[in-house]
Each structure stands twice: as C-alpha cells, then as structure tokens.
C-alpha cells in the first residue's frame, strides 16, 4: 500500500508557470547579453572607422600646414573654430617623435610616448596612429572610451526597458495559459478528490487532452474491474448468508419442535440449551455477515436515496417482532435530502444502532430514533453515563458496554465500518445531547454530494 503524502505536494500549475516564466526570462536575458556583445563589437568597428577616417583627413592638412609654416620651435596648439568640447583629440609628431601640433584640448601628458601605427587602447582612450611622408610625420588621434560605453549603455537600455515591461505581462500570460490548459486536469483532480471510499462509478470529466485521456480511461477500467470484484463479493456474501441461514433455521426449528414435543425433564432442558446455543450461533453468523458486507464496500449508493422509508421499514420490522413498544420514530415530512448511502447498508446500520439501544438501554425508557432533513440519523437511549474511554472503544470489534450484556460486540463496529465506507460522520455521545444521562449515536451521511473524505 502506498503511504499517503505527508509533505505538501507540489503544484503542477505553479511549477509549469514558474518554470516557463523563469526559463523565458533567462532566455531573454541571454539573448540580450549576446545582442549586447554583438552590439559592442559593431559599435567599436563604427567608432574605430570614424577614428581612422578622422586621422586620415587631418594628417594631410597638418603636414601641409607644418611644411608651409616652416616654423621650428615648441609644439603648436590648433585653435578651435568656435567654443566647443573637443570629442577627438590629436597630436602630430615629427620624424623624431617630438610633438609639432596638437588639438586645443589635447593633454600632452596623455601622448607622452610615440606609438606604433595602428589602433591602441591606453588610459581609457582608443588611439589610432597614422604616418605620412615615409614616417616623417605621424598623427595620433585619441577618443575617450566613455563615449563608446555611453552609446552602448543607451542602446542596451533602449532594448532592456521594453523587455522589463514585457516580462511581467509574459509571466501573467503564462500563468493564465497554463491555468487554462490545466483546467481539465484540475477538473479531473477535483472529481477524483471528491470520491468516497466506495464510489466506483466511472470518472465523467470532459474535455481532457490527449495525454490525459488514457489516464482517465485506465482509471475507469480499473474501477470497473474493482466494481465487478465487489459485486462478486457481495453476491458471494449473499449466497453465503443463504447457505448458512437455511441449515441454522432448520436445526433451530427442529429443536424448537423437540422442546414442544418432549415432556418436561432433562431431555427438554438439554434441547433448550441447544436452542439457546443455536440462537447465539445465528446471531453471531448474522453479525459476521453484516460486518463482511460493511467492510467489503458497496455501502455508497450510485444514486442518492431517500433514507426515510428505509428507516420506517426497519422500525416496522422491530414492531412486527414485538420489540417496537419502546421505539419512538421521528421522520422529516417529505423525506430526507437524498443521501448516497446504499439502502441495505443503511438498513444494517440503523438496525444495529436500534439493537444496540434495545440491548444496552434502560428497558423502562423509550428509545428515540430521529432522521433529520439532512439525512442525519440519531438513536438515543437512556442509560448511565458511559465513561469517555469506554465510549472510544465501543466501535472496536467484540467490545461491549458491559461485560455481562447480551450483545454480540459487533454492532457498533459494523456501524462504524458502514459510516466509514460511506464517508459519513459517526459520533457516539454520552451523556446524550440535552440530557444528563443516556447514550446517543449520530450518523451524518453525505447528502447528494460526493464524499469528501472518511471521518469516523
């Protein structure tokens, strides 16, 4: 037998929604990272090309200016055309590496050492070096890397902001879609969860997906097999009852005739002893058969039943057998709310509760049998208060309220078993509600709704 789950089980819907949402977000972020790397490379290429082009345009002009001016002296600073922040800075060196010309915001300490031709990244700057006139002149154009970073950051931010807005909406959409897709699973789960212990009718949930249909069909096939097995068991029990009762009935009747026909004396006394034992055997076999039925399932009716006429018939039987004088029956007008309890099982349950009250109750006091509109059955008898520990043992097999009482010790065990099988609640109370003494047994079957659990 598989033990019930003791820890809280995981939700398929929650797992799917979180998994899909998290997975999607991670994929998006990875995509963003990849796109950022590509973007950075592309931006670098564009900026490097721009740097190179700038150098190539400035150098010829600078060389002409230097040759034409023919001035020898300290490095000259190129004045700006107007007030402006210089974005690219440059220096022009002579063949010996000395700076001859530099842009107006160029810091000479940043260009301390002449560099080889090509691109360099130094001191947070990207520098391009180009030579002309067979190396007699060299230009170094520098651009701060901050600018590139800012462009990259802005571009990536422009990509990230819509994504950040989209992710929560996507998660909500995923949760909704998963919930909608799993709705048939939830319906199937609800139907299975609502099943009583003895309910074996096929699962009816419609609209199941292809993946779930085989599960439902397999469960239905399993339940059909179980139902057949239980019906076979019920049939066997019924046949066993018949086969057992007939010889007991025959022997008892013959013994009673013997008692009637023999003269008073030892032989009659012996026959009376046999009769008493046969009655005991008949009672015990009856109770064992009832217990077998109660525990064998089939106590939950497929169709809801009005229990009032069943109870009336059970009480009528006691009346016919001369035990009805103390019974006070109260039935709801118009019957009960239909309850899903098998009529035979309910009759066995009611009969055992009444027999229990007749056997253990005060013989001078009435027994109140009441069926409420909601199909709750209550049987109350007068008796001394039963201690709580004894009360809790009454549904144990072969447990009697008093060691010397005539009961079989199985009646309340049968009642408990039927109640359990039908998902009904059984309460044994002493003192009985509203009085200082007495005993009350209350059974509340599940009215028309499927059984939700088994509480006894």
């Amino acid at each position: 037998m598989i033990a019930p789950e003791t820890v809280r089980s995981r939700s398929l819907r929650r797992d799917l929604a979180l998994g899909l949402g998290f997975g999607l977000a991670v994929l998006w972020l990875l995509g963003m990272l990849g796109a950022g790397l590509v973007l950075k490379r592309e931006i670098d290429e564009v900026f490097d090309a721009s740097l190179q082009e700038t150098a190539e345009r400035i150098l010829p002009i600078a060389v002409i200016e230097l040759i034409n001016s023919d001035i020898v002296g300290p490095a000259r600073r190129v004045s700006p055309v107007g007030p402006m922040d210089e974005y690219m800075k440059y220096v022009v060196r002579g063949g010996d590496g000395a700076i001859l010309l530099y842009s107006h915001q160029a810091r000479l300490d940043s260009f301390a050492v002449p560099l080889a031709t090509g691109f360099h990244t130094i001191a947070d700057h990207r520098i391009f070096v180009l030579t002309a006139v067979s190396g007699a002149y060299q230009i170094e154009v520098a651009e701060p890397l901050d600018h590139r970073r800012e462009v990259l950051m802005r571009t990536e931010l422009a990509m990230l902001v819509p994504l950040a807005i989209l992710i929560p909406f996507s998660l909500l959409g995923i949760a909704w879609f998963v919930g909608r897709s799993l709705r048939p699973v939830a319906a199937l789960s609800k139907e299975v969860r609502g099943r009583g212990a003895s309910e074996l009718s096929p699962l009816q949930t419609r609209g199941l997906q292809t993946e779930l249909l085989p599960i439902r069909n397999a469960v239905n096939q399993l339940m059909a097999r179980l139902k057949r097995a239980m019906e076979s068991e019920r049939s066997f029990t019924a046949n066993a009852a018949h086969e057992l009762r007939t010889p007991v009935a025959s022997t008892l009747a013959q013994t009673q005739r013997l008692i009637a026909e023999v003269p008073p004396g030892p032989l009659r006394l012996r026959a009376q002893t046999i009769e008493a034992e046969l009655r005991r055997l008949a009672r015990l076999s009856e109770k064992l058969l009832q217990l077998s039925r109660a525990e064998g399932g089939g106590v939950l009716a497929e169709d809801p039943q009005d229990l009032a006429p069943i109870l009336a018939m059970v009480v009528q039987d006691f009346g016919r057998a001369g035990q009805g004088e103390r019974l006070r029956l109260s039935l709801p007008e118009g019957g009960t709310t239909p309850a899903r309890m098998d009529p035979d099982a309910f009759a066995i349950l009611a009969r055992n509760l009444i027999e229990n009250a007749l056997t253990h109750g005060d013989p001078a006091q009435p027994i109140d049998i009441s069926l409420a509109r909601d199909a709750s059955l209550s049987v109350t008898n007068a008796c001394p208060v039963i201690p709580a520990d004894a009360l809790s043992r009454l549904t144990t097999r072969f447990e009697r309220a008093g060691a010397r009482t005539a009961g079989s010790g199985l009646g309340l065990a049968i009642v408990a078993s039927i109640a359990r099988g039908a998902g009904a609640r059984l309460a044994l109370l002493s003192p009985a509600p509203g009085r200082a003494d007495g005993f009350a047994a209350q059974v509340s079957p599940v009215p028309s709704q499927p059984a939700n659990g088994r509480r006894t």
Binding site: T246, S250, T251, Q254, A321, D344
Partner: protein, 219 residues
C-alpha cells in the same frame, strides 16, 4: 386455517408443518412452485407461507402471479434473504409479512395469527360473542361459567364459523379447513365436532341450516 407451506428445505419444512399443525391449523406442504400452483388452483388457502429461493423458480414471481389474478390470500414470505431491498421487493409484490430465517417458531405462529386477523378485518385478537370471550391469539374461550377447553379440531371448526359471523358456511368449506391433502375425510366427522361444540358452548352457539351448512348462532 388451511395454510399452504412452500419450503424446499425438508428439515425446516417439516418443523414448520408440525408447528402449524400443533397450532390447530391445517397445513399443506409443498417443495416446488409447480406443486404450489396446483394447490392454489384447487384450494382457497387462508394463508400461504412462501420461501423465495425454490428449486423451480423465485417465490416473488409466484406471488406476483397470484396477485395478478387477484387472489387475496394472505402471504408471509419466509426467506434467508435479509436485504432491505429484497424485503421491499417482497412487500411490493404483495406479501403481507416478511420473515428472515432463522425464524423462531413461536414468532412465526404469532405472525400467522396477526396476518390472518388483519385479513379478516379485525386485527384485535379479542372477540366477544354473547357470553363468550374469545382470544384468537391465545386460542382460549371464556364462558359464563369459566374457561372452555376446545380440542384442536373443534377450534378449527369454530374459527371457520367465527371468520364469517352470521353467514352460512358449507360443510365442504369446513372439511377443506379441517383436512390436508393427505388426511382422509370421514363422512360424519363434521357433525360429530359440531355436536361437541354445542355441548361446550351452548346449544344455540351453532345453527344447522339444513342442506346448506352451519352458521354462528349468537353473532
């Protein structure tokens, strides 16, 4: 009462038959439905004791057929089937009572008496007839001078007349109640028992309607 017992278990059948006889009734015991049909076709029984699981069919079907042809004989089902649904089916089919085996013979006798009285429209077992106080359940009669003892056959004849107070009961009807199929009918038996009843209950207790039968004289 003439009672038809339909029971295929011989041990139980013989014990019930003996019990019914000891109670002063006249039983006919059959073990199959075919025999039961033959009996009910020829005799109007005062009561039928019916088992359900019989070798040649279901007792419920027999009962339904009986009620379909508007037979009003009281029927008590005596069966090992104890389910409430079986009981409902039996009572719905027209049974008057339903006993689950094993049956206490004393209880069976009480149920037979109760059903029979209910059918006669008088569920009260106590009847007053002139000076006579009659207890049908206890089978006792008390007259002005005290208790009157009747033999089994005297009681059967008196009970047949009690069932139809004031009406003429044919000699053949009394014979039918008095004898089962396997008993011989002697020609003057009824006259002998009526004479004895008159001695015990009073000469006017039973009137002879010449050529037709008998009736209670002090109804």
């Amino acid at each position: 009462m003439r009672i038809l017992l339909i029971e295929d278990d011989r041990g139980l059948g013989s014990a019930v038959r003996d019990q019914i006889s000891a109670e002063g009734h006249t039983p006919d015991w059959v073990e199959t439905l075919a025999d039961a049909r033959a009996c009910t076709d020829t005799v109007d029984y005062d009561l039928i004791l019916l088992d359900l699981a019989l070798p040649d069919g279901n007792g419920i079907d027999f009962l339904r057929a009986l009620r379909t042809r508007r037979a009003t004989n009281p029927v008590i089902i005596m069966t090992a089937r104890d389910r409430i649904t079986d009981r409902i089916a039996g009572l719905n089919a027209g049974a008057d009572d339903y006993l689950v085996k094993p049956v206490d013979l004393a209880e069976l006798s009480a149920r037979i008496g109760a059903v029979a009285r209910r059918y006669k429209g008088n569920p009260n077992p106590l009847i007053e007839l002139g000076d006579l106080a009659i207890d049908l359940a206890a089978r006792s009669i008390t007259g002005a001078s005290g208790a009157i003892d009747l033999s089994q056959r005297e009681w059967v004849i008196f009970e047949v007349l009690l069932q139809r107070p004031g009406a003429i009961v044919a000699k053949s009807q009394i014979e039918e109640r008095l004898y089962s199929f396997d008993a011989e009918v002697e020609s003057n038996t009824i006259e002998v028992y009526v004479s004895r009843l008159r001695k015990k209950l009073g000469h006017d207790a039973i009137e002879t309607v010449r050529g037709m039968g008998y009736r209670l004289g002090r109804a």
